[in-house]
Amino acid sequence: MRHSTFKTALTDRTARHFIGVLFAATLLAVLCNQLFPADSALHVSSYTITLMGKYLCYALLALALDLVWGYCGILSLGHGAFFALGGYAMGMYLMRQIGDRGVYGNPTLPDFMVFLNWKELPWYWHGVDHFWFAALLILLVPGLLAFVFGWLAFRSRVTGVYLSIITQALTYALMLAFFRNELGFGGNNGLTDFKDLLGFSLQADSTRVGLLIASAVALAVAFVLCRWITGSKLGRVVLAVRDAESRARFVGYRTEHYKLWVFTVSAILAGIAGALYVPQVGIINPGEFSPLNSIELVVWVAVGGRATLYGAVIGAIVVNYGKTVFTGLMPEAWLFALGGLFVLVTVFMPQGLTGVVQQNWPKLKARLSRNTDQETSNDCA
């Protein structure tokens, strides 16, 4: 049994292993990118660095979903919306950084606004040229939306499939809204042609490396935070709400407050993931709100295994690596593969990859130790 504080969450074994592997992989990639020349066999290309960074953002998003789905039993099919909102907030900042380097050379108005014949900046675009303000929006916008949405939904005791459907409707509605030019976020083209972030050129290798490291750090911090939450009494209440919500109420917990708390924290993490993602891929458009994205996200977590945290991270990386390889071979079949994967996992591996490993771990361990025993007895003989 864990009775976590932030400090114990930081130093417990799972967190140490997780952070160790994460930083080792990141460091290795960065060193191979920086130290070896491009024609060396050991060279890691900038493309790969960015790809890794992207995967880590997905992993952070999956972690956020695991917190609400795996631990609290809220199957959100709209978590992509929080990711996209964080992304848009970052995109607005990057847009303002372009300044007069855009196609139309307008010092304040982004290109798409000039194109639409807008004369001045809409009120909600003010302030985002300051990074601190954009950072605040990255946290506040997804957090606030989740808070309001969750407050309405959980207070009315919307649960199960109904909740899943309205979260899906939420992201769909946002997608339709962001497609409109009048909304002032670049319509279907979204925000793109970014130049630099905090003064660093987004085209530079060093910036890409920096973004990868930032993504790894964000993932590590989020992981420790989630370990803390799930190991605390709050985490135990949340699990109780998942397994027997009405019992939790009769014991005296306002279960809707707990759900709201977790949902909001999760949305903020998703927003941070989106914000780190956008400068690495160089674009954010309404497609990120697509319901399909949120569903894919659910598949990552299901594949990796729910309610373990690292399972979600592993699932996100494995499925997305698979997607990268697969879409290179036959892009049109990806959706079928994804659907098939989901069915397979649901039917044959309800606990996901980590569940399979955990179940077989004692056997594996026994076999390993038997082998070593034999070796030692051989040595003796």
Binding site: M1, S232, K233, L239, R247, R249, V251, Y253, Y258, W261
Partner: protein, 279 residues
């Protein structure tokens, strides 16, 4: 009492001006103002699709008493508990906890916090938590989300949990996941959870289902020992068990009270013999 205190007492709004009481809202949230009776159910009617599960039920529970409720299946015993705990809202009637808490207007959570603990007919524990954690979660302690994030068990709280584990005979299984406990053990764990809430009123729905003889005896002892300090309402089928914890018995039939009195009186009541004992 100093003169100042008595002056203040004289000017307490809630006592001086009745209209300041804001209808039937609690005077002090969560504070039970129990006199002779702790629970008042009056003219409660609950219908499901026209079928009256409770029909003008009127029932009072005295402070500190151990009351047994019996009645054939479908008599409305569990539904009555649903009404008291806020799970079901009555179509009509009033339901007061103490003098001032109108249970029909309070949420399940508020009712639990005010001091009513319930063991369900079907044992409901948190299946993925250990026995210890189940009791920790049920513990009478601040229940806010932020508070829970930072809360750590104190030594006293740990002792208290262990004491309760011992009371319900689960000390050896403290680290066992509740879902893996036997049916009888789950019943006990749930009773333990109710105890951890430090309620003033315990509602215990069919506590001995799935228990062995010895376990039944211990449960009887436990319930008897709780009365006095707590008020206890036990719903049971098992006549022998009821007799063993001998107390006031209320017979429910078709959603209303058929008879009330000692076991002796009730057993000799012709109406009761006809509908229940006679079958």
């Amino acid at each position: 009492m100093t003169a100042l205190d008595s002056l203040r007492e004289t000017f307490r709004r809630d006592q001086v001006f009745d209209f300041m009481r804001q209808g039937t809202r609690p005077v002090l949230p969560g504070q039970v103002d129990a006199g002779k009776n702790i629970l008042y159910l009056e003219d409660i009617t609950v219908s499901f699709d026209g079928f009256k599960a409770l029909n003008d039920l009127t029932l009072y529970i005295k402070t500190g008493e151990l009351r047994c409720i019996i009645g054939p299946n479908g008599a409305g015993k569990s539904t009555m508990m649903d009404v008291i705990t806020g799970k079901t809202r009555p179509d009509s009637g009033t339901c007061f906890f103490g003098q001032t808490l109108d249970l029909t207007r309070m949420s399940e959570t508020d009712i639990a916090t005010a001091g009513i603990g319930r063991k369900f007919q079907k044992p409901t524990v948190f299946p993925e938590h250990t026995a210890f954690e189940n009791l920790e979660l049920a513990m009478n302690a601040p229940k806010g989300a932020w508070h829970s994030l930072f809360s750590q068990l104190s030594g006293e709280q740990r002792d208290w949990i262990e004491q309760t584990l011992a009371t319900v005979g689960l000390l050896d299984d403290r680290d066992k996941v509740a879902g893996l406990l036997s049916h009888g053990q789950k019943q006990w764990l749930e009773i333990g959870m109710v105890l951890m809430q430090k309620p003033q009123l315990l509602l215990v729905d069919e506590p001995i289902a799935g228990m062995t003889r010895q376990e039944v005896e211990r449960t009887g002892e436990l319930l008897k020992s709780l009365a006095g300090e707590h008020s206890v309402v036990v719903v049971e089928h098992d006549m022998e068990f009821i007799r063993s914890i001998a107390s006031t018995v209320t017979v429910l039939h078709q959603g209303s009270v058929l008879a009330e009195g000692t076991m002796q009186q009730v057993q000799n009541d012709p109406k009761v013999i006809e509908v229940y004992l006679g079958e």
